[in-house]
Symmetry: C3
């Protein structure tokens, strides 16, 4: 019999499964996409069993699971539950990828872009909107590579919570929480930074132009906000490594091209084996190897 | 890279996305269909963003949105919200079609059929079930072409409300509401009419045979009820321009063939550009140009 | 025009439509799969109308309905409602298959396997977990063929209820309910049995090894539990007619291969005509004719 069709089972923690993730799956070449919304750990078991008990042997690599949705914490809980119901000791397993809100693929693409211009192992970074799904992952990757990372949030206690989570993953991470709620917070947070990444909510200008154009140490600015106005004022959606006032800048669509390649590469990697688990580290490693 | 697969994102305001619309999409040649039920204006934004932020340039024309469901008003609210989240000034847009309950395509097909036998600019029409999704659109098209239109309903105040909506779209529309609740209402409403269209609820006989066979001015009778018994007694499901007692008659399946062609043509039109908006007028224009 | 694509409309009574059934549908060659969760008799009508009013003539055989979900009774209610909305007298019909929780295909495969080693018309059987979706159907098929069947359950009144349902389908069925709640129940229930089938809940050992290896009349043991531990201790997932302590044994994956073939054959049968109804008897007949 000829090779079986590829099936991607999309487990989304939001009520409506992401259109974005579905389009990317189709464009990555997935033949059949089974999309589920409102997925929680309580509803995972039969979905996983349906993956592992239907195909046998090497055909199991033709089925895979994608976990998405706007809430990274919810996505991580689903991933953890998915793993419980795989039975790899009997060969009953499929590959799984976590990319809640595009957090892993966007973060990997953004950090890859920054790494082209800076030595990230010693760079000083500021992640604005660092408590959001993408911001958390950007901060985690930057911390892992070894530089000093500031996580900015309008609610400093939320930034502290994110720092704690990252330290649990990366003991000794060089990371701190800063408040960016008042007009004087910005300059202070940005002070000695070489890199700023804005990963905040849509429609919020997080960094006025006069602030970042006067930040002396700043070399790279990355804005991940896809809907105008830009999170970093003055950066254009399509910026991709252009220099603006001496700072190399990237807009959401500029990063988006790489993010798409990473996302599609990760989906295709799922179908190479039946036991891959693609989370932030694996996806970043994949990003580094892309052309 | 070769051309991307076509993707139709079906936004249905009912809990279960319409099987009917899905079958037609498949038969129109759509390659990937993403179906969402329970869509309301509150849930539209991420669905639209997923359409416009995934593909670039001319590939955006390979993604489109279809709005359906049994409630035309709810569908119109979703269409209005979809438009808010398109960003055409940045080229970030996809084509959209509204066809809640098949209202636009069925109405366009029915009025096209009537126009083959009558000069609609001067014809006198009665739309039974004129407050339903299809009836409203039939009445609106007939009013736009210029004839005199009566909207019949068992609840006259509901018919008055529909008249008000149509007048808002077509100032000076020659249109009136009539009650069809008692046994004497029917003959009176039908009196001088050249055309009667029945677009009422399933299983309700709206016009007994003895009534319409004695209506002197009547030339065309169209019954859009697809489940026996017929809404206009004596008309058969498959009638397509046959004469019955001197009246040219169409049944639901007789109109249905044209409706299907209009529906499929409209879906294919969506993929020609990334900025079409197909509502009743555009779909009727399309119907007139079909072979 | 060339032949239309095959469409399978999956009506699942669980909130999330079964991944298992979707994978099998894809592997059976279905081209488009429309999956609905949370289906109840109240939501069936428009789904059926969408099937029968979209394609005409012989193209209707290219659309079919599959009813699934974990609750057989709910699935039967949906099947009954689906039939009400088909209009075969006008040729407006599509084929339908019921396989809630794989009950029909698994039961057909299990009974077919048993029939290779035993004369089922005179065999004495015990069905453990006989009140579950699969167990009910196994018992019904065995009763129909004519042997004596015991339905074991930890709650004897539930087993009595299943007996009543089976007697309603098969008048004079040679069937009885037994309790298997205490440690002495097992040996008594198993006493003179030639066949034991375990179809209980996941993770529950229903029959300890020392019990069945000392049951003198026992010739065939079938365990339908797909997740370790086995429901019949000592039987392996992949057992397929191997002898263990003098008993021919089948595990869930051993039966599963046949179940898959039956399941796929049934789906393909749906697309041969537009009026087949595939329930347990039709699916068992199909199983008997497979190579």
């Amino acid at each position: 019999m000829s090779e079986k069709a590829t099936i991607l089972v999309q487990l989304d923690t939001d009520a409506q499964p992401s259109v974005f993730d579905r389009v990317v799956a189709v464009d990555a070449g997935v033949q059949h996409l089974f999309s589920y919304g409102g997925v929680s750990p309580q509803t995972v078991m039969p979905l996983v069993h349906g993956c592992i008990f239907t195909r046998g042997g090497k055909d199991l690599a033709r089925t895979a699971i994608f976990i998405g949705g706007s809430d990274v914490t919810a996505g991580e809980a689903v991933l953890s539950e998915v793993k419980k119901h795989l039975i790899p000791q009997y060969g009953l397993s499929v590959s799984v990828m976590l990319d809640s809100n595009g957090s892993n693929t966007t973060a990997a693409a953004a950090v890859r872009a920054a790494g082209r211009h800076l030595d990230l192992s010693s760079a000083k970074s500021l992640v604005l909107g660092g408590t959001g799904p993408v911001g958390q992952r950007v901060a985690r990757l930057l911390a892992k590579v070894g530089g000093h990372v500031r996580i900015g949030s309008r609610q400093k206690d939320r930034a502290e919570a994110v720092c704690a989570v990252i330290r649990a993953h990366i003991p000794g991470a060089n990371i701190e929480a800063v408040s960016v709620s008042s007009s004087t917070d910005g300059p202070q947070a940005l002070g000695d930074r070489n890199l700023v990444v804005a990963a905040g909510a849509l429609g919020v200008v997080m960094l006025p132009k006069k602030l970042w154009t006067t930040a002396k140490a700043l070399r790279v600015a990355i804005d991940l906000n896809g809907v105008p106005p830009a999170g970093i004022e003055g950066i254009e959606l399509n910026d991709k490594g252009v220099e603006r006032d001496g700072v190399i800048s990237y807009g959401a669509l500029g990063i988006g091209g790489t993010k798409m390649k990473v996302h599609k590469a990760a989906i295709n990697k799922l179908f190479e084996t039946n036991n891959a688990v693609l989370d932030i580290e694996e996806i970043y490693a994949l990003a580094l190897h892309l052309q």
